[in-house]
Symmetry: D2
Subunit: 321 residues, 4 copies
């Protein structure tokens, strides 16, 4: 397999790379390079893989960045074409085996960003005969400091919007059906695991339906913060090493490609360093989890026959009011 080697010899089973940190050998049937291999060797912990959705989001970023760099005359037609082709392959999941890294690596996702750069560069050479430098071409106008938080936002937004919210709507519909079906079944409302005043089973299911509606609203509004991307602001937020208007251009391309309403961070220095978006969103997800647990526990209790033999011996007295 042909590979971009900073300074390498092609051997039988391994390619050997040399760089400032020394030599490293990569299995010759894999498309990753030296940085990926070092991460693999240094972080032999856990089996929690970097999720495909993040790899895929990074590949979208590589493709859109290449288009923007090409627009600013920083990338040739041939190189653009190669990056587009390989990025699409990554997005289509056909190169999954070449992304072996775990989530436990550098804090800023540098290793996975380089993994994508290296695979694009090596596949381009091997399949299309195009020589791409992983850093100078594929990572041009980028830093893992801006691509990785952007990829997290893209991946989470897409997953939440396309999968989670879609599923929630489906479940809402099912609860709505039950609400209707159980409309005239009158039962005892319960407080403190004791009987209280009457309620219909349909009314209880209307609460379940409304829990999901409410959670959906919460998630939708908190997701909106994820549409702001620091992409193009590079290592520390100043946009150093990018051509003028690069950020505007690359995000506009990404918006068109994805169909999502992405825009530039209002403050890139914030966009690079703060994870406040995710923590805020996690509150909505916990809120959903809480409601689903409540629903499940209610159903378990409603279908549980009483352990009534004990009621004569164990009696917790309710308090009035």
């Amino acid at each position: 397999m042909a590979k971009f080697t900073y300074e390498g010899d092609i051997m039988d089973k391994y390619n050997t790379f040399k760089d400032s940190l020394g030599e490293v050998r990569v299995a010759s049937d894999k498309y990753w390079g030296a940085t990926t291999q070092r991460s693999l060797e240094n972080f032999k912990i856990s089996d929690e893989m970097m999720p495909n959705e993040i790899i895929s989001a990074l590949a979208s970023i590589k493709k859109c960045s290449a288009k923007a760099n090409h627009y600013f005359d920083l990338l040739s037609d041939e190189k653009l074409k190669a990056i587009e082709l390989v990025s699409d392959e990554i997005i289509s999941s056909s190169l999954d085996e070449h992304f072996p890294l775990k989530i436990w690596q550098t804090g800023s996702g540098t290793h996975t960003n380089m993994n994508v750069n290296e695979v694009i560069s090596n596949v381009a050479l091997d399949k299309y005969g195009v020589k791409l430098h992983p850093n100078d071409d594929v990572n041009k106008s980028q830093s893992s400091n801006d691509t990785f938080p952007s990829a997290l936002k893209i991946a989470i937004y897409k997953l939440a919007n396309d999968k989670l919210l879609a599923k929630l709507k489906e479940l809402e519909k099912n609860f709505a059906k039950k609400e209707d079906e159980f409309k005239y079944i009158v039962k005892s409302g319960r407080t403190h695991l004791m009987d209280a005043t009457p309620i219909s089973l349909g009314q209880e299911f209307s609460a379940y339906k409304y829990m999901l509606i409410n959670n959906r609203k919460m998630i939708e509004q908190n997701l909106r913060f994820l549409l702001e991307l620091p992409l193009g602001s590079t290592a520390v937020g100043t946009g150093i090493n990018t051509p003028g208007n690069y950020q505007e251009r690359v995000i506009s391309i990404l918006k068109n490609e994805s169909g999502y309403d992405f825009k530039a961070s209002e403050n890139n220095f914030h966009g690079l360093t703060s994870m406040d978006f995710f923590v805020n969103l996690s509150g909505s997800l916990k809120s959903l989890a809480l409601n689903l647990i409540k629903i499940s526990n209610d159903l378990r209790l409603l279908s549980s026959p009483s352990a009534s033999r004990c009621m004569d011996f164990i009696r917790l007295y309710p308090t009035s009011g």
Copy 2:
């Protein structure tokens, strides 16, 4: 001190109450009654008091409920007047010593709801000579199941809106001043505790400012869910034991009294049972906490002299890309 006693004798130092659960003695200089006293004796745990803000919110509810009940001819002019007067005293904090309960009590806040009912009833008798039944008058058209979650929402909304958001705006302004003051101080941007490309100190403070702006937006939008109140839906959400349109009326009174845009829960069965509002809001508060910790740690590091003597011996190698 004159007190409403279900069936009680006034003694020297204690009033003795009798009810279905037996006898209970309350110090005669305290305005609470039997339910409160029992909670005090049964839950001798912790020193975490029920916050004044919740007591105060419950007093507002008692006052507005009395007005609504009066409107529906369920309460006399004299009783309404007495409830209003004592509720206002509670809100003004002059009766704080008569609310001795801890947060550790029944899950639904029944004891604190009754504490408010009992104090209103006993103060009304003692100071104004008006005889009020804690349950039949003060708690009319209510259940702790609807008043307590409503009081939580009112108290938290008020605290967050009047105090937290106000303080955040102030801090934003201070960071904006620093952003301007430090505009031309160029320093090294830092990644992984190492020097990276240049940045101005003002740009770093703009990130801090924007963190707070962002957190404020998150809190504001997540607070809005707290404006929906299940007040008036009583024990299980059906509004049993309330006159027609009671919920609409009582919430409209509360809205006018408070100046906040309260409205009826879209689904009262949900409004009574789910705490999803609070969990969702807590995500925004955690997000704020995260940013404040980040800011504090940055400032600590920026003002810390290096432990440079060790750098020759301990060297963690950064990774490129």
Copy 3:
């Protein structure tokens, strides 16, 4: 592939099972049965597999239980032999692909317990021509209620003892070497990220070494609680459906097979229902994590060049005392 079918037809690609819950089809190249297949279809959530270590611990339990049942004349020589052979295959990991279940299933691990029963029964028939009933033979004198918590304890004890503690000892040795190597390097001790009184770098590394020694002691003593097994106490702790002294016998066999000092729970009703052992142990593991994070952060700070340009502008005043 020959399989034990409650009432099944062998087809081309699927085996069809019929039982009280209806029909279910299992791929004919897989050794699992109806219960496993239903779990697979009903719990299509997450990609968190039931860990191999738990499957392996359950296989040990099956083997030791077969020996105990054989001792009490409840299992023939031939059946014992078959269960031993297949259990050993499971333990050696050669049947891993036949355990497809996730950790998200019934709370008591019933599905995984049945998965092991089904695979043993089907492999026995297919490879050795021995007909074993998954429940009446393989699960004899057992219930998932006693086998599953026992398997958790066996698996966690083994992992912690053989892997974690061994690794900790190794790291202790490395820190001891550094303690010696850095003995005469004097540096400034640090408090609040500021210089304090002198210390040697070796003394700092002695603290790291002692953190691990201390954590190892904590883990070792808290692990001891995991040696108590409720194995043999079946569904609710009474040992119903087991022959006299069964628990004593099966645990004594397991102790000999494993080399670990397992013994019967002092109170089986507790052993079945409480997870207190694990929560207690998790405190020791968190304590270790805390120390490792502390060590890592120290090393990051010690190797970090100061952001000294800012010290003139940002100055947090230390407090004395």
Copy 4:
């Protein structure tokens, strides 16, 4: 009120102190000094007071340190006597109002350590006419870095041993009585909220009893780590500014005074910096909490009448095995 002033004038309502950080005014009826006052003004957050148990443990440390310093001829008879007298007053809780600080202060507890030093010094002057310097006399041979973690250990050990474990033993006895009382009440054992095989109610209560026995064992063994004190190792663990054998001496005095088996940390550098003891202990406390919640939930379910009206409509199917 007479007070030790670094350089102060006694005024009507306030004493004014001057030191390197400027002027500060303290109410003249309070015994605290400048450091305490500054903490009070700078950390106006929360109403979570530094617990009395920690103040009291610090006072024990002051007293024992004074004895040790006196032994090494570093403190006069008169000063020792004064420190002993005021420390005992603090321990007896008669000076509680002079400890106004919150738990939110410097990370190392410096402010509270100084609060104790200042109160001892000011009371000594005011009541006994003995002039003590808060730092040079009361804090001699100490640093908040060694006294505060030692005080935490002393306070927690005492609370856990004298109160928590004592209460647990009492509850164990009560469950043992119930175990006996309910010995012949046969009921259905329950799994998954469904009936299973028979069990006696006494057997269920034996499990509750054993939960507590088990938790007590866990807490006892994890508490033992708290007996190791870094007291005497001062600012960074080297024992700088203490006379030879000071640590041995002061801990031996503390052991005799308290009756607890305190000893010197095996590694003082560890003892100063790691909180592993507390995290490890918290695992045992969580384990106890888990069991108490389990017991409470069981009792709630056992005393709950079934919501049986719904069982015809909502049926969750159990799985076999």
